[in-house]
Symmetry: C2
Subunit: 189 residues, 2 copies
């Protein structure tokens, strides 16, 4: 999506160690119009996968996921990283390594909102190693649901996430695919 690529080029900053800072429009400050456009694009890309629910992980997946849900007229579930007191004792839980946190984080979904037979479209901000999305796919599997697609705002193709998720056999779309940070610059596919 050109709109997103242009924004990354204009305002993204490469911090080294594979970390791209997009805090000005995705990860801390959010540009709602951009997220709306991204949601619209995901809705177009995944129009035919038969999704019945959007699944994402808190925190930065929420904005793109909610707009995707709006344009597809689907509810959105965000996996929590801590179990809130409103959640039942019996939950769906898995662990996933967090690249930006350098440790394992829990991904928790209440079985109230992810049920057997659901067709799940996973939306997130980044696809790097694929570990978070793999965790979300495991949650869907535990619930007896089926993953039908994966959409991310930004893919770092050189971190291998797409290959790691290939076994799911579902379409994977990224709106901006970064192939390298060679020379400290951002290079797109």
């Amino acid at each position: 999506m050109e709109l997103l690529e242009d924004r990354i080029l204009a305002e993204g900053r490469y911090l080294g160690n594979g970390i791209l800072k997009v805090d000005g429009f995705i990860n801390h400050q959010v540009d709602p119009a951009l997220m709306n456009a991204a949601g619209q694009e995901f809705a177009r890309l995944f129009a035919d996968v038969g999704a019945t629910k959007i699944l994402t992980a808190e925190i930065s997946g929420i904005a793109p996921a909610v707009y995707t849900g709006q344009h597809m007229r689907l509810p959105v579930v965000y996996a929590r990283k801590r179990k809130p007191i409103t959640m039942p004792d019996q939950v769906l839980l898995t662990l996933a390594p967090s690249h930006t946190k350098g440790r394992m984080v829990e991904l928790i979904v209440s079985p109230e909102y992810l049920a057997g037979g659901e067709q799940v479209l996973i939306i997130d901000d980044f696809l790097a190693s694929g570990a978070t999305i793999e965790g979300l796919a495991r949650l869907a599997e535990i619930a007896g649901a089926k993953v039908v697609g994966i959409g991310v705002l930004i893919e770092k193709t050189f971190e291998g996430g797409r290959d790691a998720l290939a076994h799911l056999g579902v379409p994977i779309h990224s709106l901006a695919a970064i192939t390298s940070f060679e020379g400290g610059e951002i290079h797109f596919d």
Copy 2:
């Protein structure tokens, strides 16, 4: 907002101790159409306050804040509860007690995205004691910004948040005001 009150009556569940569970459409599963309607309503209510930025706290404030930002054509900043590695060393930080977590949490904003002279509209999911919103207002103040309004999806009027925030001297709007859980039922204003 009747749409929200109806939804709370139909799907909200009172868990005791003043805790209202709305995990089916706000706090874990999100109904994008409802959040869009809420954002539209906030945009109408705060059309004349001169806001230049929306401020919320992760996690559950993000969806209503982003839609409010979209309808007001304003960027949205969500205060983080942990400092991500993409944030500069020097941040704006305050502590606020979390009702649902039973401990103090940090609210962190990068000075890159909350600057002196900004006119801040605070949006959040709940207004209970007002402690989180008070924390967000402190962050705005430290930044040299000015709070110009406060909007929440659900107010629990009996927890005194509106009075606690009165010293800010700004309009406070809630889309659903719960006056009591007497008899385990949800009573609106």
